[in-house]
């Protein structure tokens, strides 16, 4: 168990949130959890004091125990939903945008879910284009930001190479491998704010900027992040 995870377990607030998250996930999968099963899925021995954590949650009215099985109360569901939302959004950010391997992503998301404020969560959600599911394919609970902008389903930002031929995007960020590329692209008018249209991906990627066609190496195109412009 690495440092982050230990931190999660040891911090009482984080531990409570872990339990809420776990209960949400199992409920989502359609089965209820007993205290013992909970301890097992969280990868900690029974002597680590999960009983105490659960007791605290029951005392604060977030969890109910009936016939040895744990269920979330309405208030508990509300909190769990926020935690799960943060966790899964973080997974999308780390795995799909920043390209971290899944194992790393999982760890990072476990850390982030406990520290992100509601405002930051909504910002991440908007940045990612209100993604409906996490990389594992499980639904991401909606936040207030999602309901105000329900029509947008495309991600808010993606790589140029991920656009479909014919799609347009506005350049948000240029991150080429070689520095001189950045200058050359800028000279050609490819810079933050410029609108690009992807013309084709194979045999070589071709984009249109203003009225100029540019053929680009895939590697260059992967360093160009754009905000897709959907025609309404």
């Amino acid at each position: 168990m690495n440092e982050t995870a230990i931190f999660n377990v040891r911090s009482p607030a984080a531990a409570r949130e872990e339990v809420l998250e776990e209960l949400w996930t199992s409920h989502e999968a359609g089965h209820a959890l007993s205290v013992r099963e909970l301890a097992r899925t969280i990868h900690a021995g029974p002597d680590e004091g999960w009983g105490g954590v659960v007791q605290e949650l029951v005392d604060s009215g977030l969890v109910e125990v009936a016939d040895g099985e744990l269920t979330l109360t309405a208030a508990g569901q509300h909190q769990a939903r926020e935690i799960v939302r943060r966790h899964r959004l973080a997974e999308v950010l780390f795995h799909q945008v920043l390209d971290l391997p899944m194992a790393v992503t999982e760890n990072e998301a476990c850390g982030v879910e406990h520290v992100l404020t509601a405002q930051a969560t909504d910002a991440v959600c908007s940045f990612l284009g209100h993604p409906p599911v996490c990389p594992h394919g499980r639904p991401i609970p909606n936040g207030p930001c999602c309901s105000t902008l329900t029509r947008r389903v495309a991600p808010l930002i993606c790589r140029l190479a991920d656009l479909d031929p014919g799609e347009r995007g506005r350049v948000v960020l240029l991150a080429p491998r070689h520095r001189e590329r950045l200058e050359q692209l800028t000279d050609l008018g490819v810079m933050p704010g410029a609108v690009l249209t992807l013309r084709q991906r194979k045999p070589s990627l071709v984009v249109e900027v203003d009225r100029t066609l540019l053929a680009l190496e895939d590697e260059i195109a992967q360093g160009i992040y754009v905000r897709p412009l959907t025609e309404w």
């Binding site: 491998r177 070689h178 520095r179 001189e180 590329r181 950045l182 200058e183 050359q184 692209l185 800028t186 000279d187 050609l188 008018g189 810079m191 933050p192 013309r199 084709q200 194979k202 045999p203 070589s204 071709v206 203003d210 009225r211 100029t212 066609l213 540019l214 053929a215 680009l216 190496e217 590697e219 260059i220």
Partner: protein, 655 residues
């Protein structure tokens, strides 16, 4: 670099500067009434061309420069342009721009203004802009910039008459980007370090130095103390830290902001872009599926037009008809009648005669092929197909440590390897330039040679053509693959501007073909004569038989060719198309069987193209590298031929 001020009485030279492929060379031609090669791909002009401005009062010198997107060069050809601007401080800049890409035009205008250059702006390609519904208010732009702005469609000669009239109104454009305060301060401090005689260009040069333009290092080393240079580096580092982006990026973005606000005032798109037939053709020609049949169709037309029509029909007409039936008999009888000396007769019409060998080869065998190739190639160049071919072949070229951009010089090599070697300047890294120079010299047959080869291949079984193409491609990719690993340095990633598809102008094709043919005759014929003289002298001195005997183990033993083939190899050192023509004649005389024909073709294809090409290699790559390349190529050519001979004989292949 001249430090002397221009005498006041002399009309200052005119420098044509602009983005790539916007028509600078067309305007150069109109101003000088002289033809320079004009095509539809970025990088047609890689050298400075100078001419007398006969269409301008006072006939100032007019200088055509390679296209550039910025005065901070990204490749050698762009550097040529920046350097000429530094070297000609008094010259008036005639900026040529593509109207529909006004953003990039003004981006360059801003840099010229910072260099303190007096300029005019020609907004060319008005016809294409109109087709796209683009409208630029040139009068408004003119009053905002404070320089003459001249709309033109140069290829139709429209609007160009205003250039000589308004040349005197040239001024520094009022387009000064405002930089972040830290940058502005660093610019002022850097400019103060620069020699005072640079005058108004100091601001522009300070910006270049702050943008870490490495190509300016020599320039700076010659003019600035080590302390001053270290000072500039420190300022740049401080700006980088303060802004969180590189100084170069901050500068470029500020320029773009200034341009964008001007664009909003003068640039309008009246209707949405719609796909014209030309756009669709352009898209199909680089489509992953449709691009392939289009490429095959292009190759088929090339084969039919150059191989069958040029090398077959035209060569037959000129060689058998004109030379065989008219010129050679006529010259022969004239010589017999009027030239008393036996050796002089031989020199003119003998087996190594200037008329019977040199001129027959150059004009009867090679010229028809070269001519048809130039026509076909001109159409390809002007249509905009070549950059699309680069898009198609990019991935394949990766094997050789190159990318699609190298397709341009390699395909140009099919026209002339010498010019193609010069065109390697468009490649961004030294490694790529060395690789392409080597591959051009090794295995890209030029039009002259290609024609003779095609004609000869037509006389052996189709398998011969397949084997020839296969062996040459294998050698190109194999050597490219190996050389890419042996030659130090790095390649670059593919970034190429694809020009619009344009309908070739017949007039331009005709003029271009004529200019290239003239150039071929001027360059090749003297070498053909020289080669013939060499053979003649060697033959007279009885050295030739000795050489043939000496080369016997190699030519006869290793390559399995007749002794006479030595002659062709000898002249092949001067020009490999001449060597190929020698084999062509041997084949016609029935001295080569199919396998021998193929082996000789493979060896001569892999020879160093010609003396001129070798000199160009020395000029562009240096003596040591060129000698090393030639030292590898010649033995390697024989080695491949020998192995091929051995394999074909062992397998019992007949062609």
């Amino acid at each position: 670099m001249s430090e002397l001020p221009q005498p006041a009485s002399v009309v200052p030279p005119v420098l044509l500067v602009g983005n790539p492929n916007v028509g600078k060379s067309v305007i150069f031609g109109a101003l000088t009434r002289r033809y320079v090669t004009v095509s539809n791909y970025p990088g047609t002009t890689v050298e400075v061309t100078r001419g007398e401005g006969r269409a301008i009062p006072g006939r100032p010198e007019v200088v055509d420069t390679p296209g550039t997107n910025s005065l901070t060069p990204q490749s050698e050809d762009e550097r040529v342009t920046r350097d000429i601007l530094l070297a000609e401080p008094a010259a008036v800049v005639l900026q040529v721009g593509d109207t529909k890409n006004l953003r990039r035009v003004l981006y360059l205008t801003a840099q010229l203004a910072e260099m303190g250059r007096r300029q005019l702006l020609v907004l060319n390609l008005q016809d294409e802009a109109r087709d796209l519904g683009v409208r630029v208010e040139s009068a408004e732009l003119e009053s905002r910039l404070g320089i003459p702005v001249i709309p033109a469609t140069a290829i139709r000669n429209a609007g160009l008459d205003a250039i000589p009239r308004r040349l005197g109104e040239a001024a520094i454009a009022r387009l000064q980007p405002s930089y972040p305060a830290v940058v502005e301060r660093a610019v002022l401090e850097t400019a103060a370090l620069l020699p005072a005689e640079l005058g108004e260009s100091r601001r522009g040069i300070a910006l270049m130095l702050l943008a870490a333009d490495r190509t300016l290092a020599d320039w700076a080393a010659a003019r600035l103390s080590a302390a001053a240079r270290a000072d500039i580096d420190a300022r740049r580092a401080a700006v980088d830290r303060a802004l969180g982006v590189s100084t170069a990026t901050a500068i470029a973005r500020a320029r773009h902001r200034a341009v964008a606000s001007l664009l909003r005032q003068v640039f309008h798109v009246d209707r949405a872009q719609r796909g014209s037939l030309r756009d669709r053709l352009g898209a199909w020609s680089m489509h992953p599926v449709w691009g392939v049949p289009i490429l095959l169709a292009v190759l088929f037309v090339a084969y039919e037009f150059v191989g069958v029509f040029g090398a077959g029909v035209l060569v037959g007409l000129v060689e058998d008809g004109l030379f065989g039936k008219v010129i050679n008999p006529a010259v022969g009888s004239l010589v017999t009648r009027f030239v008393p000396w036996e050796w002089a007769k031989d020199l003119l019409v003998g087996p190594y005669g200037i008329v019977t060998m040199a001129l027959t080869y150059a004009i009867a065998i090679v010229l028809p092929v070269v001519g048809t190739f130039f026509v076909f190639f001109g159409v390809l160049e002007d249509s905009g197909y070549l950059p699309r071919l680069a898009v198609m072949l990019n991935r394949g070229f990766r094997v050789m440590g190159l990318n699609g951009k190298a397709v341009l010089p390699m395909v140009l090599g099919l026209g002339c390897d010498t010019m193609a070697t010069l065109t390697t300047r468009i490649l961004p890294t030294k490694k790529e330039r060395v690789l392409v120079t080597l591959l051009l010299a090794l295995g890209v047959p030029c039009s002259a040679q290609l024609g003779v080869i095609l004609a000869m291949l037509a006389s052996i079984a189709p398998l011969g053509t397949v084997l020839w193409v296969g062996v040459v491609m294998l050698v190109l990719f194999g050597v490219g693959w190996a050389a890419a690993r042996l030659i130090p340095g790095r390649g670059s990633d593919f970034l190429l501007e694809v020009p619009p598809v344009r309908v070739p102008s017949l007039l331009n094709i005709a003029i271009k073909t004529a200019a290239r043919t003239e150039w071929y005759l001027k360059e090749a014929v003297p070498l053909f004569i020289l080669g013939t003289l060499l053979l003649f002298v060697l033959d007279r001195l009885a050295v030739l038989p000795a050489l043939e005997a000496a080369a016997r183990p190699l030519v006869v033993g290793f390559l399995g060719l007749p002794e006479k083939a030595t002659d062709a190899f000898l002249i092949g050192f001067l020009r490999r198309d001449y060597g190929a023509a020698g084999f062509f004649v041997l084949r016609q005389q029935g001295l080569l069987d199919g396998v021998q024909a193929l082996v000789s073709l493979v060896v001569i294809t892999l020879f160093v193209p010609c003396i001129a090409n070798f000199f160009m290699m020395i000029k562009e790559r240096g003596l040591a590298a060129s000698v090393a390349m030639a030292g590898f190529i010649v033995p390697f050519a024989f080695l491949v031929g020998g192995v091929l001979n051995f394999v074909l004989r062992a397998l019992g292949v007949t062609l």
